[in-house]
């Protein structure tokens, strides 16, 4: 049964993304695209002629997608959370390599920003894993979701996680990596057709990846987890519609000066 869910993960993420586009449109009081719009885009991209810069560049996008899929699968299977964070790191490295492998200046800028985003959110993800370990006594997700009530003991860590969700799903104020108005998508600029589709689908998987971290905070109660995910989803979109983009150094400063102390403070509190 779980293998079916793993196989359907990109489709599940696509539904989340489609729902999000409709939700954002409704927040701006407009009709918005159809709910299944991401799948229409995918089918259209399959039929387009594809321009390739060079073969490794195109293959790195495919590798990025499958590495990300593997880390999402590891979450579904309930593996070690720390291990999953590093698996996800491998996927991001492939994307950054793809960005640096072409001569386009925008692609390089995008890869630089992608690296800086990694610098910003990776410590928080590891601290989240450590915090969950300190409370539950296990790094395994299967062990974590058998204990309850993380929210009472790790409220500040949850707030820190909340601050990095917009970086991961590329939403304002932390959408520097994509930034369509200034660097035209960053690392994805040289992709087209089928290979762009892999990057488009990996965005769906990012949603599943980061929101499953939020879900784990619900603990043994599935309902609490679902409510947390829905609440964070709404909040992130609300903030996305209400704020402008910050610059990359500002983003790192905000994460290091606000989210990091919160996370560390919470860990110290747990340890004492």
């Amino acid at each position: 049964m779980i293998w079916v869910w793993i196989a359907l993960a990109p489709i599940l993420g696509g539904l989340v993304y489609g729902g999000e586009r409709v939700l954002r449109a409704r927040m701006q009081r407009r009709l918005g695209p159809p709910f299944l719009q991401p799948f229409y885009d995918m089918f259209k991209l399959l039929d387009k002629r594809t321009l390739i810069v060079h073969a490794p560049h195109a293959l790195l996008a495919v590798a990025h997608f499958f590495a990300l899929w593997f880390s999402v699968a590891a979450i579904f299977l309930g593996w070690n959370l720390l291990y999953i964070v590093f698996l996800h790191l491998i996927a991001q490295m492939l994307l950054i390599l793809a960005g640096y492998s072409v001569r386009s200046a925008y692609s390089h800028l995008g890869a630089n920003r992608e690296l800086l985003m990694l610098v910003a959110y990776e410590p928080i993800l590891i601290l989240v894993a450590v915090g969950l370990y300190l409370v539950s006594g296990s790094f395994e997700i299967t062990g974590m979701i058998q204990k309850g009530n993380y929210l009472a003991q790790l409220p500040l860590l949850f707030a820190a996680l909340l601050m990095i969700v917009p970086i991961k799903v590329k939403k304002s104020p932390f959408d520097v990596g994509e930034a369509h108005q200034e660097i035209v998508g960053g690392v994805e600029i040289e992709y087209s057709g089928v290979f762009y589709e892999f990057l488009y689908m990996s965005r769906f998987l990012e949603y599943l990846f980061i929101y499953s971290f939020v879900f784990i905070f619900g603990g043994e109660s599935v309902w609490l987890g679902a409510v947390l995910v829905a609440g964070v989803f709404l909040l992130v979109n609300l903030v996305d519609n209400a704020t402008a983009r910050v610059r990359t150094p500002q983003m790192i400063k905000i994460i290091y000066m606000a989210a990091m102390p919160l996370a560390v403070l919470n860990l110290v509190w747990i340890l004492l």
Binding site: Q28, Q37, K44, L51, G185, S192
Partner: protein, 176 residues
Amino acid sequence: MKFFIPFRKKSPWILHYNAGSCNGCDIEILAALGPKFDLERFGVINTGNPKQSDIFLVTGPVTYRSRERLVELYSQIPEPKVVIAVGSCTTTGGVFRGMYNVEDGIDRYIPVDVYVPGCASTPQLIIDAIVKALDILEAKSKEIEKPFKLFGAIETIGNKLSRLNMAKKVELHEKN
């Protein structure tokens, strides 16, 4: 494949290029994309990247400086693609017709599928044009389309087609 063709109509991504326009038509295009007229309900995204676009929205009479870029952008859009000329200047040259530093409309350089009149053309007209363009997009084949002028060559390297030299640069003595 036949299965994919209906989906062309459902997710047209646009590339907007200003070939020396006065910004009037550009503002109207952005208004059409904005919350009031909401082009996104047709699945439109303003990608700003030729390699991921289907519809090429051009505004402005083609100034000499913008010729190279226009043809370069056109040749970087993968087929099937549709070109929409937005505004009087883009279709005929408009008030700039016959001036020493503009070409009269983009159809001297690239094949145009839909012409939109108006100075500036309204968001309603632009939405109409895009809906019209969707039918053309659906009927098109995946043949490589060539610009009329500044067309270099499509070479075969190995067994692959290369577009590297598809758009030629303007000769130095033609520049001003």
